[in-house]
């Protein structure tokens, strides 16, 4: 047990509920001064929610927060502004930058050096922000506008902004999610410096390598509950993963052995206009689950969007069951029985202000129309009820607005839409992002079933456990190229990771 006066901040008994899901249940978190405390868990385990409650972006349903420094001062009622003055600083998962402002302006937004009449001191702004950002990188000019920067650079600016206030408690929410190799190194260098200066760090990540590299303590959240807190040194990776996931990893994804058939889909010399640097070639077979993995910015989404007809392509041919098809629009793709379940279900997949029923029939409405234009309401309703049952979509009814469903159920709606359109080739783009474990399992089972019934499936995910557990083969992408095509049975997690990080040829070296 740690003595109270060593604890810097303490959260007790935090509860938080969102529509459809209990995000946090009786969670405690105690962070000691100067320590580097990791907060880990799967997507949707509650990590972001917890720190957003800490920084008062969300208000908890129950629980208290204390500052342990001067004898348990309760800070539950404070606003984020007040907490900032007390030394808190959060680097948001969404970065929260103003795109048309310069890097300098963004770093010091709200804290700019001003003259007595409140005008900007531009050169001082530039100098001060330069000093701050040079802690992470030399490559970014503070006079460039944020919208001109790459995603990785923007993440660095967000980090610079977080440390600009010389915080005593620095909270980083998935800081490496958008960073490239260099950025990650720069971040770690910075964090080491801060640790030496005694800054307390809360570090959210689901990348284990980073946790082991950077942090002293780790708290594991699973399904909104705290399952473990302890020193990083005293727990092995496998054990940690088990705590995060709850069961043995291999068991988590139900994978049936399904005989793989002939080629049902192939792309030749395919190059989208965006992101992807080389021509891509691959085949997809009947009942096969082909994974595409890589870190953020590798080009996975851009590739499938162009295949599906959402984005333009520069060149290439697409074949369905050996027959050359021309996909100039998404309608063409759907007519060819290809279906995309997009990455961002709220923005790209669902019309959130409308009902489950209306969203379910969106891709296949033609089927329900008499004379080509009159919607057969009864048929639509019956079918909708059937689909809801099929994937156990938890909703009070088919008329419920989709926005009121939980993430997992929203995703099921998008997936069912594809089912309804008689698709034989499915492309799933990170379908389990931000979804609770129960729904994830259902989705895995469902995909397995789809494969069994003969569909060809492309499955995009940056999460190696998913890829390794679910897929038959995997394409690893990095920097817009396919680095390697691997058969899951013949490869290891290390090899896949190697190519994910950009390695060229996997040899004797192993990645830790």
């Amino acid at each position: 047990m740690v003595e109270n006066n060593q604890i810097y901040v303490r959260m007790e008994g935090i509860y938080k509920r969102f529509p459809g899901v209990q995000a946090l249940k009786n969670v405690d978190l105690a962070v000691r001064r100067g320590e580097s405390h990791a907060l880990v868990g799967e997507n949707g385990a509650g990590k972001s929610t917890l720190v957003k409650i800490l920084t008062r972006e969300y208000i908890e349903d129950a629980g208290k927060i204390f500052l342990g420094d001067h004898g348990d001062q309760e800070i539950t009622r404070k606003t984020y502004l007040e907490l900032q003055k007390m030394g808190f600083s959060l680097m948001h998962q969404d970065l929260n930058l103003v795109p048309s402002f310069t890097v300098a302006q963004n770093i010091l937004l709200g804290r700019e050096p001003l003259t007595k009449i409140k005008t900007m001191k531009w050169s001082e702004l530039r100098e001060t922000s330069s000093t701050i950002i040079r802690q992470v990188t030399d490559r970014i000019s503070v006079t460039s506008r944020v919208e001109e920067l790459s995603i990785s650079q923007r993440a660095l600016v967000a980090i610079a902004r977080a440390v600009a206030t010389k915080p005593q408690l620095l909270i980083l929410d998935e800081p490496t999610a958008r960073l490239d190799r260099e950025g990650v190194d720069a971040l770690f260098a910075l964090l080491n410096t801060l640790k030496q200066e005694g800054v307390t760090i809360i570090y959210i990540s689901h990348r284990l390598e980073e946790i082991y590299q950077m942090c002293d303590q780790v708290t594991v959240l699973r399904d909104g509950e705290r399952t473990f807190t302890g020193p990083v040194k005293e727990i092995g990776q496998v054990e940690l993963v088990n705590l995060i996931v709850g069961r043995k990893m291999e068991q988590q994804i139900p994978k049936e052995e399904v005989p793989i058939g002939e080629v049902v889909f192939s792309v030749k010399d395919f190059k989208p206009q965006e992101k992807v640097q080389e021509k891509v070639n691959f085949d997809l077979r009947k009942s096969e689950i082909l994974g595409i993995t890589g870190s953020v910015g590798a080009g996975k989404t851009e590739l499938v969007r162009a295949i599906f007809g959402l984005d333009k392509r520069e060149s290439g041919l697409v074949f369905v069951a050996g027959r050359k098809v021309s996909i100039k629009s998404t309608k063409n793709a759907i007519d060819e029985q290809i279906m995309l379940v997009p990455e961002d279900r709220r923005e790209e997949g669902l019309v959130t202000d409308f009902s489950v029923r209306e969203n379910l029939s969106l891709a296949s409405l033609q089927k329900y129309c008499r004379l080509g234009f009159w919607i057969n309401g009864k048929k639509e309703k019956t079918r909708a009820k059937g689909l809801v049952k099929n994937l156990t979509i938890h909703t009070p009814g088919i008329e419920q607005l989709v926005r009121n469903l939980s993430g997992g159920n929203q995703q099921k709606v998008v997936i069912s839409r594809g089912l309804d359109s008689d698709a034989r080739i499915f492309i799933f783009d990170e379908p389990t992002k931000g979804i609770d474990v129960g729904a994830k399992a259902e989705i895995y089972r469902f995909i397995g079933r789809l494969a069994k019934e003969g569909a060809g499936i492309i499955y995009i995910s940056p999460e190696l456990p998913e890829i390794l557990g679910l897929c038959d083969r995997v394409l690893v992408m990095f920097g817009g190229r396919i680095m390697k095509q691997l058969s899951i049975m013949d490869t290891t997690k290390e090899e896949v990771l190697f190519y994910v990080m950009g390695g060229e040829k996997y040899g004797k070296q192993t990645v830790g």
Binding site: P19, Y58, I59, D61, T330, I334, L350, V351, L362, P396
Partner: protein, 328 residues
Amino acid sequence: MNITRGDIAVNEDKSVGIRNVLLRYGVFFFFGVFYIITGILQPKFLTIANLLDILEACSLAALVSCAMAVVVAGGGVDVSIGVVAGLGGLIAGFLIDAQWGYEIPVFVAVLVGLGVGAAIGTVTGLLVSLVRINSFIVTIALLFIIKGFRYSFTRGSSLMMLPDSFLAIGGGRIYGISYLTLWMIPIVAALYIMMEFTKMGRYIYMIGGNITASKTAGIGVRLYTFWTFFIAGLIAAFSGILVESHRGVGTVDMADGFLLDAFVGALLGTILLNGKQMVLGAFLGAVIFTSFINAAQILGVGPYWVYAIKGLLILMAVLINRLVSEER
């Protein structure tokens, strides 16, 4: 996002039920009360004759409000709806006005007028869906162009010698029901049916709701966006023909006021029914604000307050809607 306790929906188990009913009918309740109070204060308000008057007065506003609702449902706006109406009527009238001596059957002239509306709707639709210009700007630009163009052939003079066969289109009553109303009802009904029961209507709603999701689902978003403007142009032109026929005279700016009426009706409509069933909402919106104005006149409130009433109406509806949804 700043989410506080108050914003989070309470039990999802309850949500289709009491809350929805309150949300849906709260504003109606308010207007219903208003009708009753006015009726008590001034019984003339609730007579059949007066109600028919209200219907007549709101017919054209209802037409353009519903047309605007279709465009808004699809995620656009049509600021030119007033001048398109005027132009359609003007060109139709111009062809048959005795001043200019073209010997054209009324029927043909009306078709030409409608054609004008369709043509402008086509241009708007193409500019928005293919060139991808914001519909606000496109329709503002068209507003300018039409305002200039309509002077070029009328030179500002009015059309005052319109044949009786033309005046008969919008200028009579049967059993007390105005012809305007008789034209309005089937058109509004057709629009309602289209939006609620046909594939096109469903696609329009979905495109307005989330254009990216619609695209991912394979809907031809350009095509249906185009149609919204085409339909609006057509209906606007017809409304212009009706107003000209009803008044018996064609002036250059005769339908300019339609724009504001369309806004009020369509906006009230989105508030009343929470963005659903927009044609019905726009229709009710037009009926409601026309009733308010009628009530004001009957109660002796000066004619000065027409606009103020429209404004207050929208404001009140917005506030009531917000108050009710705060409880969600």
